[in-house]
């Protein structure tokens, strides 16, 4: 599904974001990437759909090189990759429905999108996606009228309506409370298990990571220091990834 081949990233100011990453993620996996802030989690995730460019190496997504893709090819590959953000990144003034439909824009001609002409099938897809996150009744409310957890579920619906084969989630629960965190993570888990959509999720809280992941990748200063099934990710392993014993704020209390 995703393959990193010798991927490195050096920022213009000389700091190294990623160092020689070689990782292969299979279809249907629920991968959680953990590490301190600044370890390169976000850079790793955003290089998969090329919101960030890499300096070296190549990333293959669904059999195609996104690193080399240009123009329409790049848009095509991105169309298959959903993304969920820490701050939801919804258009707050638009309705929930329109936000979900915006996941479909990659499928249609530009002029149709300028006029806002979505086929009927898209609207049904959007409604189904909203049902899956249990929010059909909010379809015609404005996005800024919803709570944080609800907004995040709308952004999940957007990725679902997109019919993505792979969903990237960058700290999806970092701005949510424990209860909504559970709802959002449960949604992601159901989508992963029932629809077989591959998940790559960045998380700060290790108990959440352990509860939902099938595989954990640990990053430290841009390098992969751990990569294995969740059973192998012991407390000692985490201490090594974090470079120190675990602290209170790295445990959210959702798993208990």
């Amino acid at each position: 599904m995703i393959e990193f081949k010798n991927v490195s990233k050096v920022y213009p100011n000389g700091t190294r974001g990623l160092k020689n990453i070689n990782v292969k993620i299979e279809k249907g996996e629920f991968v959680v990437v953990v590490g301190l802030s600044g370890a390169g989690k976000s850079t790793l995730l955003r290089s998969i759909n090329r919101l960030h460019e890499v300096s070296d190496g190549e990333i293959i997504v669904g059999g195609k090189s996104i690193t080399k893709a240009q123009g329409t090819d790049l848009y095509r590959i991105r169309r298959d990759i959903g993304m969920i953000f820490q701050h939801f990144n919804l258009v707050k003034r638009s309705s929930v429905m329109r936000n979900v439909l915006s996941g479909r824009v990659g499928y249609h001609a530009t002029w149709k999108m300028v006029l806002g002409l979505f086929p009927k099938k898209d609207k049904e897809l959007a409604i189904q996606a909203l049902k899956r996150v249990n929010m059909p009744e909010k379809a015609y409310m404005r996005a800024d009228q919803l709570s944080g957890g609800q907004q995040q579920r709308v952004s999940i619906a957007r990725a679902l309506a997109q019919e993505a084969k792979l969903i990237l989630a960058d700290e999806p629960v970092a701005s949510l409370d424990p209860l909504t965190t559970k709802q959002v993570m449960d949604d992601l888990q159901h989508i992963n298990q029932e629809l077989g959509i591959t998940m790559v999720v960045n998380l700060h809280f290790i108990d959440v990571a352990r509860k939902y992941a099938t595989r954990i990748i640990g990053l430290k200063q841009g390098e992969v220091v751990f990569d294995g099934p969740v059973e192998n990710a012991t407390d000692e392993m985490f201490a090594e990834i974090y470079g120190r014993p675990l602290e209170e704020d790295e445990i959210m209390g959702v798993a208990r």
Partner: protein
């Protein structure tokens, strides 16, 4: 089981909001635009045949007649002078009128309402129209222009000014009431210190607008550079028209810049 699921699907969704209002609005605007086009006999043909002329005109405007600049310095200076004097008279009239129109200064509505009415009335008339009327009264020259600008800036300054007076802190005014000041002292010590810098700022803003306005008043014979636009265009001396445009724009930009800097210093 299946029917129950289907039913649930249909009831779980709220009805999409009606878009009738939006559609009617769009339709109405389009109708208005079409009616307007019909009213004035708008035709695309005319536009198409006019466009080459437009291009010819632009070609003839370039380059400006550089020698002409020295000849128009005097009317440019007259334009600025008209703006200075007009804005000053307008500002001097605006200050007391705004006080009379502000509800927190004058508590009797039979004073504030007529004042506001007069100010609104003045603001409906554009400067060139006022100038045309004053030319009928005083004859051709800068005097009617100055009167037009005075009235025009009175409208602008007073509107902005009485609105900002109404939003000042009531504390100092109450203090003046408490010490038993009469109305004049009450205004001078309770209101004026709070609004002086905003007044100067509005005054400068009106001055910027007036410089631009003064540049066209000559078209109706009210003095300044405007007269020369009609002359040069009438004699097809487009290079001179270009000089007028460049000179006016330069003066406007410089005055705008100086005035903006001064206004920023004030706040």
């Amino acid at each position: 089981m299946r029917t129950a699921e289907l039913k649930n699907q249909t009831t779980g969704m709220p009805a999409p909001p009606k878009k009738t209002k939006q559609h009617i609005t769009v339709l109405l605007v389009l109708l208005l635009v079409m009616a307007s086009g019909w009213q004035i006999g708008f035709s695309l043909e005319e536009l198409m045949s006019g466009l080459p002329n437009m291009w010819d005109l632009i070609v003839q405007l370039i380059p400006p007649n550089w020698g002409y600049f020295s000849q128009i310095t005097v009317p440019i200076l007259e334009t600025i002078r008209m703006a200075v004097v007009g804005t000053t008279i307008g500002g001097l009239l605006a200050a007391p009128l705004s006080m009379l129109a502000a509800r927190n200064v004058i508590h009797t509505s039979w004073v504030t309402i007529p004042c506001r009415f007069i100010l609104n009335l003045i603001r409906t008339l554009p400067e060139l129209l006022l100038a045309a009327i004053f030319v009928a009264i005083f004859g051709i020259g800068p005097i009617p222009g100055i009167f037009a600008l005075a009235l025009f800036s009175l409208g602008i300054i007073a509107k902005l000014f009485y609105e900002s007076i109404e939003s000042i802190d009531p504390g100092p005014m109450e203090a003046m009431t408490a010490v038993g000041a009469n109305k004049i002292k009450w205004i001078v010590f309770g209101v004026v210190p709070q609004v002086t810098s905003t007044f100067v700022s509005f005054f400068l803003y009106a001055f910027e607008i007036n410089v631009r306005a003064a540049a066209v008043l000559g078209l109706v014979g009210a003095g300044g550079i405007g007269l020369y636009y009609e002359q040069t265009l009438g004699f097809f001396e487009y290079d001179k028209t270009a000089s007028l445009i460049v000179y006016t724009l330069a003066v406007v930009l410089i005055i705008d810049y100086v005035s903006t800097v001064a206004r920023e210093k004030l706040t």
